[in-house]
Amino acid sequence: MRDEDTGLRWFLRGVGGIVSVPAFILMASFIGFGVLCRESGITLGQAVFMTGFVWALPSQLVLVGAMAAGTSVVVAGVAVALSAIRLMPMTAAWVPLVRGPKTRKWQLVLMSHCVAVTAWVWSVMRLRDTPPDKRAAYFAGFGATLISVNVCITAISYVSAASLPPLLAAGLFFLTPMYFLTALTASARLAAERFALVFGLVLGPVLRASGIGLDLLWAGVIGGTLAFAAHKLLHAKQAGS
């Protein structure tokens, strides 16, 4: 990869990122989404529209549930907003990764729509080794392709939704967590990230079981703060010895 390569080249390289393990795993998850929409009485057009314009699988699941139950737009909006708070710290941490010297604010706002767990993990893994002035083009290529392809997958799986054999469906749903877990471990460079992985992994399910509201947000804030403190302590000790 030469530094003098053009932005278009990097955009196309990002498009090529669709042929990768993370992209395939997300595509497998969207097969399940198309089938779910059909079973929930959502129309094909609405299902496709949702993938393109919401682009956050957990929030899409909440939205489908709300629409199937006939919830009011306000209640559904609040439920979806609560399920999507995680996107704020994720996007905040993503901006310094993707931003180059000439990236405009509106470009970041536009690209931020692509931020969901897969694109975020991909950014953490790939963008640090990309020339800063080409990062935005690289990410835009990947993000736009990822959304377009999954819009198609939503449509295809909706139309051809002969329900999957349960064992295969279970295997598909297990791909996502295992991929995220191993990919994030492989790309964690700082002690804070490693601690945060461990704390979040435990706190997420524990706080959900405890039944407090906003459990995921608390898992992030508490787990992340503890990880930050552990990181600082570790470095203070290393500096002292």
């Binding site: 931020s112 295992m178 979040g200």
Partner: protein, 114 residues
Amino acid sequence: MTQSEFSPYLFILIAGTCATDIWRWLGVLVGARLKEESDLLLWVRAVATALVAGVIGNLIVSPSGALAEVPLLIRLGAGAFGYVAFWFGRKSVLVGVLAAEAALLGAAWAFSAL
């Protein structure tokens, strides 16, 4: 489009797009002010990582759909097996994912959980 055909799309735009994108826009606003190598960015990164890890934990411990039919012990065991395989396989993501899948499907089939 008639109004009744149009309104579900408006519903999705308001309750779906606005409700998720508002957090992304806020994230851009906050992220643009963070200085690289600052402690604040380190904390934000740790919070984001813990959040995603929380999502991962919930996807394994309390999943939806067909995976929920597989007993928790098998899910946890297969996850741990895949993670150990990932470490022994020189941190290969593919090795880890394939090992976890093999363990999950093998155990679910052997105990005829599905």
